[in-house]
Assembly symmetry: C2
Homo-oligomer: 403 residues x 2
């Protein structure tokens, strides 16, 4: 099977070209897949886009993150589907199909690391690699009921990974269990030691809880009560720990604008010169939205972003951990994806919550903690910049006690 030939539109894989590792190591016995925007030598990296494939050639070597996993003995099972150009949180791809959300088959898997989340939730692999710019690992992991991790910005090499918005692009991990996530984090972060136990308290972000769907709140409340028994807790508002004007809508606007500006650096010349085949939705997003971003506002927005980043990380520097629902709405049903729905508030609400980590550069882990009528619900934890191993250590201890 090659990447142009996908008989089953709900299959999470774009191809199943395996690589057997040439050595044993920390990840021996674990199988994995990687998203279709990460280089495998001698295969065109497809980016979920026929227009991309038609205008690009085969890389000659594997991405650094893939080499790290093969160097550590993991078994590579192939490449997973991505939303077109990794530019969506939905998980639908009109060219290659929508990977199955095995826990809720009538719902979207979430994107853009849709195939990676689907493959892990379907137990086809132990873990999968995705990329996360504005939520593309966290949202599909939450929707599919598995663990998902966005690292501290810059902590995992992006060499051999296609760029989207370089100041926000990260390589993330989706895994069936917290134990396996911890092992893979150790490898990709190249950390030899276990994370510290230096966590102090859990801070519930009231803004996000207030925005959340009633069904989500109802189902996670028992777990939140157990967290209060496990750890010191407090409830905070974003405005209180950063600046008075800051809320999730403001975060969405800043992140949306800054992503647009960098995405046009990435794709502008390609779109203009190659006139690639794009789906109507992505064509609109790129040509109308990204192209028209007012670049005279870049410095103002970057200053606002940096102030937010500094304040969040100062607040978290002594071992505090933020906690909030990963998404404030359940995964949309496949039959409700109308143009009106996609132009509505689902994306702004999802992006606003994901912007907490994307703008602050802090690491985030989403844990599957509950279901509402079978639809998975993820709960997220964010630690200070660079505290990734402490965060997974905390999450594993908390999960074993509370869920």
């Amino acid at each position: 099977m090659n990447q142009f030939d996908t008989p089953n539109m709900s299959d999470p894989f774009i191809n199943k070209n395996k690589i057997i590792p040439s050595c044993t190591g920390k990840l021996s016995g674990l199988s994995f897949a990687i998203k279709d925007n990460i280089d495998v030598a001698n295969e065109i990296t497809g980016y979920g886009s026929p227009g991309w494939i038609n205008t690009h050639s085969k890389p000659v070597v594997n991405a650094i993150c893939l080499e790290q996993l093969l160097n550590s003995g993991a078994n590579f099972q192939g490449k997973t589907k991505s939303d077109e150009l990794a530019y969506s949180l939905i998980g639908v791809n009109s060219f290659y199909g929508t990977p199955l959300n095995p826990k809720a088959p009538d719902r979207v898997p979430g994107g853009s690391s849709s195939g990676s989340a689907s493959a892990v939730a379907s137990e086809l692999v132990d873990f999968a690699i995705g990329t996360d710019t504005g939520g593309s690992v966290r949202v599909p992991a939450s929707n599919c009921g598995v663990w998902g991790y966005r690292p501290s910005y810059g902590a995992i090499s992006v060499a051999g990974v296609l760029a989207l918005a370089p100041s926000f692009d990260t390589v993330g991990i989706i895994a069936q269990t917290g134990e396996n996530l911890e092992k893979v984090m150790q490898v990709l972060l190249a950390e030899n030691d276990k994370g510290s136990n230096d966590f102090l308290s859990v801070c519930f972000i009231d803004d996000v809880f207030q925005m959340s769907d009633r069904q989500i709140l109802d189902k996670i409340t028992p777990g939140l009560n157990k967290i209060s028994a496990f750890s010191k807790v407090q409830t905070i508002r974003l405005a209180e720990i950063t600046d008075p004007h800051i809320n999730c809508n403001w975060l969405f606007e800043q992140l949306g604008f800054l992503l647009s500006t960098e995405i046009w650096n990435t794709f502008g010349a390609w779109i203009k010169n190659e006139k690639p085949k794009l789906s109507p939705g992505v064509e609109y997003n790129l040509r109308s939205y990204a192209k028209s971003a007012n670049r005279k506002d870049i410095q103002t927005s970057l200053s606002a972003k940096k102030a937010f980043q500094n304040k969040i990380n100062n607040f978290l520097c002594e071992g505090k951990i933020l906690c909030f629902p990963t998404t404030v709405d359940l995964a949309p049903r496949l039959d409700e994806l109308t143009p009106d729905f996609l132009a509505g508030d689902y994306i702004p609400r999802a992006m606003g919550v994901n912007a907490i980590s994307s703008l602050s550069r802090a690491p985030q882990i989403t844990i599957p903690v509950a279901e509402a009528n079978g639809v998975p619900i993820g709960l997220s934890f964010v630690a200070g910049y660079g505290q990734d191993m402490m965060l997974i250590n905390f999450c594993n201890q908390l999960y074993s006690k509370c869920f």
Copy 2:
């Protein structure tokens, strides 16, 4: 004049296509140039390489860092020469010529941000932007007798900047004065506040002083003595603050290997498919050296790098500042650049010292502090990760008292 037409081989500029800023701001009244690997809308970004120009098209928008400077009122004067593919510390380009080192006209300017350093030292602009992966801002700034800054990794956007080795690539600044450097840092880091005064002590790295040319040591000793009067000082060895096996030669080997692996991710497919026109030296470096790096060793080397990064930043976290000569040899004479010289120990010695920041991701500033028979000598200061504004504040105070 266009970028293919460079009548004067020692001119630092590749073109002089100016942009007048449309607003006033923090940088009003200051003129600047940017290196030939940073996008200006509607000009092919040349990368110091005719082979690159022939196979790439014009970007449609400016790099984010250029927008930030224009948003802040600075006057853009054009693009400066780069070493071919930004892959050298020497400053010679066989296609476009070698920018003048105005302080030492018989010596190389250093590279790869050769034109940026030359333009600033020649007082053609107040500051210039370069890129620094393994020393490409710090070395030419030091050779040309001006200020140079490599930021904390990831602190300045690389959107619209050509990649070399993404885990190490940074956008840096070269300036005539520390005051101007501080202003430009505020803009590119998007920091509204002045740096703190929380510096504790200066730690001389004995390893680097021991390696340094006698003429360099003789000329900087009076300055070092003044530093001892300005600040608490101590002398340390890298092995003592990190691990017993670590010295500058080890740092050179790790950095050289990791750069090679990522550079082959960046250029491998292009070289294979396009067979671009390259100079013999770069052709050799890419085809023989980068291509042959043993990728089975990536995980081992990344683990060693991460341990070094953690130890350096833990040591620096309380306001300690490292100090050492920026280069351990004077800028080479133009007439000594034989193949034997280039295959000798000049590059390993320079890269080993520059690897302290490239591997640890900590910010570094080089200050022009002395001359040996007219040849400039730079002294470097390194603060902990993210402490960039504290570092420039420290450097400006120290410079006014000691030099």
